[in-house]
């Protein structure tokens, strides 16, 4: 509902160089300006790159072999210039509108590449670790964001992902410790996610509570209840109740032997594989099945859906509860997938990053996954740069996901639009 840029008619013109609406022009200049700033920063980094060779470590933990040495400044300069060309091409309308997304992606890759060359010049950068860590940090974010996609496509705002994470993490730790069964832990975490989702569903769909209020309150509630149970039960008997078994990596034969990406993608825990499957399943369900069509229908125009006989509330319940499974599994990652024990408020805002990923990904499962991977990349990069000691403060890198989201919702980079009835309770007259 922007005031300055009214929705323009989608390019009905046959040729890419057709006359441009003033609003589109403003937008192009604004977006192009931001792109150019990033490109110039990249180029600037290239100019200041010194130290000769940047070395990238391609196999985790192997410091002798499989190293990729490249001339740092030269590569950075090439990437920087490529980035400027990409930004310039967009700014001057040298490519058709439909390719502008690729230009932005090219610019992003060039920028990150130039940055890495600058940071790694004269040092050894553990590239394999970087991607490994990216996937680790991204796993709960992807699951959380997918849960958000399911809810919000059905018209229920879910900012309680953080709360679902916390409860899932707690339950997984508790069940894994008491039963010594990872399968039971994952199932229990999923179930606890569903319980939280049920609270979200009942209060938003039945009692028509404002969904933003509800999300905030559920996060506080989850923080309180997991904190209370932790203090009262888990902590006093930590050796019995808080020693979950961390999931072990399962190698997929064949695929895991692919050089470089094989060990990163296919030597992971079951939870990571479940995440791959979840992305595919949610995409398929939302866009290829009848249930998915109905979910999207009640999220966009519940009244129309009701008119053709779709049970709006029932569809919304089903979507929110199904999303609870994903969010609960995402929570399980924090304890049984990673840390190996529960601690208070251990999800540390990841639920809100998942929310950001969902918005950056424009309420689409694939988009949410890409955004989550980007956020995971930034988080991992921060810890890597600490290790190789670059002058960039880690805290500023940790801000990157949040700043990127603000830039995205402010419409500086593309327009984001939520499902139309997202957050509006449906009341039959």
């Amino acid at each position: 509902m922007s005031e300055t840029t009214p929705d323009a008619v989608p390019a009905a013109a046959p040729k890419p160089q057709a006359i441009e609406a003033p609003a589109d022009r403003t937008r192009r200049l604004r977006v192009g300006g931001v792109m150019l700033v990033f490109a110039l920063i990249g180029l600037g980094l290239a100019v200041f790159t010194k130290g000769g060779k940047a070395t990238f470590q391609l196999v985790s933990g192997d410091l002798q072999n499989n190293l990729l040495g490249i001339p740092a400044q030269f590569t950075a300069l090439v990437l920087g210039i490529l980035g400027v060309i990409a930004a310039g091409a967009y700014l001057l309308r040298r490519v058709p509108q439909s390719y502008s997304g690729y230009l932005a992606a090219l610019l992003g890759i060039c920028f990150i590449g130039a940055f890495l060359c600058w940071a790694a010049a004269g040092k050894t950068f553990p590239l394999a670790n970087q991607f490994q860590g990216t996937l680790n940090f991204a796993t709960p974010l992807i699951l959380g964001a997918l849960a958000g996609v399911m809810c919000e496509r059905a018209g229920v705002i879910n900012i309680a992902i953080e709360g679902q994470f916390l409860v899932g993490a707690f339950t997984a730790a508790l069940v894994s410790s008491t039963t010594n069964s990872s399968a039971a832990a994952l199932i229990a975490a999923a179930a606890s996610g569903v319980v939280m989702a049920w609270l979200l569903a009942v209060f938003s769909i039945k009692y028509l509570v404002n969904q933003v209020v509800l999300g905030v309150v559920l996060v506080v509630f989850a923080t309180g209840i997991t904190g209370f149970l932790f203090d009262q039960f888990m902590q006093p008997q930590a050796e019995k109740l808080n020693t979950p078994e961390v999931l072990s990596a399962v190698k997929i034969p064949g695929l895991a032997d692919i050089p470089f990406i094989g060990p990163i993608l296919f030597n992971q825990t079951i939870l990571v594989y479940l995440t791959y499957i979840a992305v595919a399943v949610v995409t398929f369900v939302l866009f290829q099945t009848r249930w998915g069509l109905r979910i999207r229908a009640v999220g966009e125009h519940p009244k129309a859906a009701d008119t053709v006989g779709i049970k709006v509330k029932r569809i919304r319940y089903s979507a929110v509860l199904a999303a609870g499974v994903l969010a609960g599994l995402g929570g399980a990652f924090f304890t049984v997938g990673y840390a190996g024990s529960f601690s208070k408020e251990m999800t540390a805002g990841n639920g809100f990053i998942a929310l950001a990923a969902l918005i950056m990904g424009r309420w689409h499962p694939i988009g949410a996954m890409v955004a989550a991977l980007f956020f995971g990349f930034a988080t991992q990069l921060q810890s890597q740069l600490q290790i190789i000691q670059t002058p960039i403060p880690g805290e500023l890198l940790l801000m990157a996901p949040y700043l990127a989201t603000i830039i995205a919702v402010a419409g500086l980079v593309g327009r984001v639009r939520a499902p139309k009835a997202d957050g509006e309770p449906y009341v039959t007259e």
Partner: protein, 401 residues
């Protein structure tokens, strides 16, 4: 305060109950009853948690068949002891009361920040970030500048107001100019503020010399709020009360406030009537940010004194629940802030005396707000409660709104 509780853009003139209500009670009384019921229900939920987690109850449960009364008396004593400690810690002595007021001080200002935005139709989840921004500037002025007594405190407070106003103003500006949804922007800005603070506390400008942990020098004595007779309560509390009066005046007695409420009630109608909706958003967020910034000064110049990464604690988030419980009115926010301050202070005492974790109060606060937000649920439990007209209706709106 009768006009406060309706969301209609009616002129401030107090119209005595236009329509006959089902119960004959004024709507503020009904809302009060619902809030009270919510508190009672929350205490029941808390009691259940205490009972299931109590060791003696568990032992007594072991022979429940033989002596069922043992279980019941153990449960009653567990709950009784815990709640007694809670009440004593909140109101039991002068120290307890001042501690409750100290805890309530930033909650009231933070709650007002959320309430004011709320009345303008904005959801300010960002009190936490605005509070941190305010605390950063206030602390910097407090320890890096050296001004005469009196002046120093005022300058430091103003710096805090400025920090919060800027952090909030960005949100209003983005909302007005680009339509960026304030919930998303404020959540993101919270984390930006948290990391900004963490980074600043590693720089030589902020970190206390000789320390490696994230802590700043102590603010000058001249820049500290005056304490009340050896207690932790400080002059910031008076500012909280003044802030509430100011917000009441702004919303109910000023032209700007009328515009804010009109935009909050119906932005499209206000635009048609010639008001600038964007301007209202910016003003509301600047003032809300300044209020949260004031809460930041209360934390850093009154309670904490050095700036640490825990300066905001969870005040900014608790402020949201305070505002929700207070239903967006200044008086309600003050009362809710006092209640939550008392719960926090009492909770500390309860943890000390009966080893019931402090986190129980977090559960209580969440459950209270959950019930208050769902009056239909409260009414289905307490059948005698009369129906409300327009039931403290929280504006239902989505991301696109």
């Amino acid at each position: 305060m009768s006009t406060d509780t309706t969301v209609e853009p009616a002129p401030a003139a107090p119209v005595p109950a236009k329509e006959p209500q089902r119960s004959g009670l004024p709507s503020w009384a009904v809302q009060g009853l619902v809030s009270l019921s919510a508190i009672v229900l929350a205490l029941v939920v808390g009691a259940i948690l205490i009972i299931v987690s109590d060791e003696q109850v568990k032992t007594a449960m072991g022979y429940f068949g033989a002596a069922p009364m043992d279980t019941i008396s153990a449960a009653a004593s567990a709950v009784g002891e815990a709640y007694k400690a809670l009440a004593l810690g909140a109101f039991g002595s002068v120290t307890a009361i001042t501690e409750s007021l100290t805890q309530a001080t930033p909650l009231i200002c933070g709650g007002l920040a959320v309430s004011l935005a709320f009345r303008t139709g904005l959801f300010n989840i960002g009190a936490q970030g605005q509070l941190i921004a305010g605390a950063i500037l206030a602390a910097y002025v407090g320890f890096a500048w050296h001004l005469p007594a009196g002046l120093h405190l005022i300058v430091a407070i103003l710096a805090g107001l400025l920090g919060g106003a800027m952090w909030g103003g960005v949100v209003g500006l983005l909302k007005a100019r680009t339509g960026a949804h304030e919930v998303i922007v404020t959540i993101m800005l919270n984390y930006v503020a948290i990391y900004l603070l963490a980074w600043l506390l590693t720089t030589s400008a902020f970190q206390r010399p000789g320390r490696t942990d994230p802590i700043s020098p102590i603010v000058d004595a001249n820049a500290q709020y005056p304490q009340f007779g050896g207690t932790r309560l400080h002059g910031g509390f008076i500012l909280s009360v003044l802030a509430a009066i100011f917000v009441w005046w702004l919303l109910n007695r000023s032209t700007i406030g009328f515009e804010l409420r009109a935009v909050g009630a119906n932005a499209d109608a206000s635009r048609t009537a010639g008001m600038s909706v964007g301007r209202a958003y910016i003003i509301a967020m600047v003032v809300a940010g300044a209020l949260a910034g004031l809460a930041g000064t209360q934390q850093v110049l009154g309670t904490d004194l050095p700036l640490t990464d825990g300066v905001a604690a969870s005040v900014g988030f608790d402020a949201i629940t305070v505002a929700l419980l207070g239903r967006g009115t200044p008086l309600g926010t003050v009362l809710a802030g006092l209640l939550f301050g008392a719960l926090n202070a009492g909770g500390l005492q309860m943890q000390l005396v009966t080893q019931t974790p402090l986190t129980l109060t977090t559960v209580l606060q969440a459950v209270i707000v959950l019930f208050v937000a769902a009056p239909a649920l409260v009414r289905s439990i307490f059948r005698f409660l009369p129906k409300e007209r327009g039931a403290g209706a929280v504006l239902a709106k989505g991301w696109n709104g």
